[in-house]
């Protein structure tokens, strides 16, 4: 029992925090615990959750992808364009997912085969993909989508919105992928020690490209959910969403240096962030001030453990340790 508690200590902490945040939100507004409100709020965060689960394997491998929100914009605009030109949704879905998977794979190829730092590459493609989305959408964006493209956003499975079900299924797929498949094992090995993985003849490059392509597909799915929920698409869709997405991944216990973290943690941290943001919305906290809290959480999630350690050791005795790089 204690062993299980220790293994899942991060997840337990998240559950406690979710309960606290839920109580706080319920305090702010009697409507928070209303089942319909809860489900509608959850649906709002599906887009972010999908991207978080796309980013998760990339971060486990010790890399980063900050271009995901731009990839989402390409996807949402493509869906809208295809819808307006009369392509049925079941044909559009594979087309767009292949395109966004390709955009992700471009990132992966540049990182894995080009040997370029993932931050610089995805900073570049962050701008480039956003530019593509704008070019496709034009100034005004695309509206007037056909019904089949917006069906998912207005349907429920029981009381649960279909988009939430889609997210949970995707999260489960990623979780199983990371826990049980070769891709998952290689990902953890790669993140923990790239040099050792190479020496052990792990397919380092292919695994990296696969993770980035998968992240692109996740962003494509998020774009699909976006058009379902908003029934329109513009070039600036989800601009700046990467802060929330990265915070969700890191807060879920995925080490930004790679090699550790579980899907359950990412799921719980997404729920936690969603609860906090919903609470702030109920309390009428303006949008930019909400990002302040998310930013503080991001810093606290990574810096918190070190801070505790520092205080424990006594700041006076502090010596700069040898940097790991070099």
């Amino acid at each position: 029992m204690t062993r299980i508690a220790r293994k899942f200590s991060a997840e337990l902490l998240l559950v406690v925090l979710i309960v606290l945040a839920g109580l706080w939100s319920a305090q702010l507004s009697p409507y928070f615990l209303d089942l319909n409100n809860l489900m509608n709020s959850a649906a709002f965060f599906v887009v972010f959750g999908l991207m978080a689960f796309g980013l998760f394997p990339v971060v486990v491998q010790g890399e980063i992808d900050i271009s995901l929100a731009s990839t989402l914009a390409v996807a949402s605009v493509l869906f809208a364009k295809l819808s307006v030109s009369g392509v049925p949704v079941l044909v559009a879905l594979p087309i767009v997912l292949v395109v966004t998977g390709g955009l992700g794979a471009i990132n992966g190829l540049l990182v894995a085969y080009g040997g370029l730092p993932s931050l610089a590459v995805t900073l570049g493609t962050l701008g480039a993909y956003r530019g593509i989305a704008y070019l496709l959408a034009g100034d005004a964006g695309v509206t007037g989508l056909t019904d089949d493209y917006t069906l998912l956003g207005q349907s429920w499975v029981g009381v649960v919105p279909s988009t939430v079900v889609l997210f949970l299924v995707f999260a489960l797929v990623i979780g199983v992928l990371m826990e049980t498949t070769k891709f998952g094992r290689y990902s953890y090995a790669l993140g923990a020690n790239p040099a050792a993985s190479r020496t052990a003849a792990a397919p380092v490059r292919q695994t990296r490209v696969a993770a980035y392509a998968l992240a692109g597909v996740a962003a494509g799915l998020a774009g699909f959910v976006w058009v379902n929920q908003y029934q329109s698409a513009r070039g600036d869709n989800a601009d700046g969403a990467i802060l929330f997405v990265l915070t969700a991944v890191v807060l879920g216990g995925v080490s930004i240096k790679g090699g550790s973290g579980r899907a359950l943690g990412v799921l719980l941290s997404t729920v936690l962030l969603a609860t906090i943001q919903t609470g702030m919305k109920l309390a009428n906290v303006p949008g930019t001030s909400q990002t302040l809290v998310v930013g503080l959480l991001l810093i606290a999630a990574i810096g918190g453990p070190t801070l505790v350690q520092l205080i424990r050791n006594g700041v006076g005795k502090l010596r700069p340790a040898a940097p790991a790089r070099g």
Binding site: L116, V121, G127, A128, L246, L292, I302
Partner: protein, 341 residues
């Protein structure tokens, strides 16, 4: 003895010349841009237009000079745009309410920026948060703070101190005052980097943190210093940008970090740290300003700029990777020869 010495000279030239080619490459690219835009849009080559390019480049080059200090250490500062916005709004708002502070706006902005930079530095050094994550966090925290403070209000240009409004439109020797200020600031940072011990330590730490540690350099002091200096410069530039914009809201300079990083990377400052110069970053700023200006003159949609900028970042980093490979192989061959001798 003489043969290895000769070889050493040649081989070190191999790495050094790769770096030189990198700068010359940017210059050539800039010339190419001038020729292309000059042919396609005749108005591009006018003196007025050159001035407008330099004016845009001036603000970017100053912000890039601060960013260079951080990138040289192998880190980065994504919060630069938020520091600029926060300093611009808060300082001008305070100055408009307390007129006796009007003369002190510049030191106030620099101090505020330095304090925000110090927070970044502390997060990266003592809390050991990777720079990218720490400054992504402070990017939103600082922006959130200014929007909280501003409460959807604006500081209108009429409320700004008169002298700083005049400065924004002043011309010295035919060029905008900002261009001269930028040239002075870039030269100052360049001198600090090449002449002061701290500048040399920055390069030493950036090119090999572990070796710098064993040599006895204080990692924390170097890093925090870089972030404080970058923050101070960002505060100062935020003030200048605010004076130019006129009506200041809480969104001033949001998204600016992309352009600043693009300028730094295009200008040949290695994202791995330890290599590059502040002059290169300034050149990168001019290249970006030229692209922006030319695309506007050609009547090309604004969106192409994002696309170009993104591709330029990736291309510049790819070239850097090649240069780094050349330098590394040159230096490792050299050290082998030294051992053999």
């Amino acid at each position: 003895m003489s043969t290895p010495l000769l070889q050493r000279f040649k081989l070190s030239g191999g790495g050094g010349s790769a770096l030189k080619v990198r700068v010359i490459g940017v210059l050539a690219f800039q010339l190419l841009l001038v020729v292309i835009f000059g042919v396609l849009a005749p108005r591009f080559l006018s003196w007025d237009n050159a001035q407008s390019i330099l004016f845009t480049a001036a603000i970017l080059a100053m912000a890039a000079a601060g960013q260079t200090l951080v990138v040289l250490t192998g880190n980065l500062d994504l919060s630069v745009g938020s520091i600029m916005g926060l300093c611009a709004y808060v300082v001008f708002d305070v100055a408009s309410q307390h007129t006796w502070l009007m003369g002190l706006t510049v030191p106030f902005a620099i101090l505020l920026g330095a304090a925000l930079g110090a927070i970044n530095g502390l997060l990266v050094t003592y809390l050991k948060i990777p720079a990218m994550v720490a400054t992504l966090g402070t990017l939103s925290v600082y922006r959130g703070m200014v929007s909280f403070y501003a409460n959807a209000m604006e500081v209108t240009s009429g409320e700004l101190p008169g002298w700083i409004r005049d400065l924004a439109t002043a011309r010295w020797l035919g060029l905008s005052s900002y261009v001269w200020i930028a040239a002075g600031l870039v030269a100052l940072v360049g001198l600090v980097l090449s002449r002061l011990p701290w500048g040399r330590k920055l390069y030493a730490y950036g090119s090999n943190p572990r070796a710098a540690y064993y040599y006895g350099l204080n990692e924390n002091r170097i890093l925090i210093g870089a972030y404080v200096a970058a923050g101070a410069i960002a505060g100062f530039v935020g003030l200048l940008l605010g004076a130019q914009v006129g009506n200041i809201n809480s969104l001033v300079a949001s998204g600016f970090e992309m352009q600043v990083l693009a300028a730094v990377v295009i200008g040949g400052v290695s994202i791995w740290g330890g290599s590059g110069s502040v002059y290169g970053a300034a050149l990168g700023a001019i290249v970006l300003a030229t692209i922006n200006n030319g695309l506007v003159l050609l009547g090309v949609q604004e969106f192409y700029r994002l696309l170009f900028q993104g591709v330029a970042i990736v291309a510049a980093v790819a070239v850097d990777a090649l240069v780094q490979k050349r330098v590394l192989s040159a230096t490792s061959r050299r050290s082998i020869l030294e051992v053999a001798a």
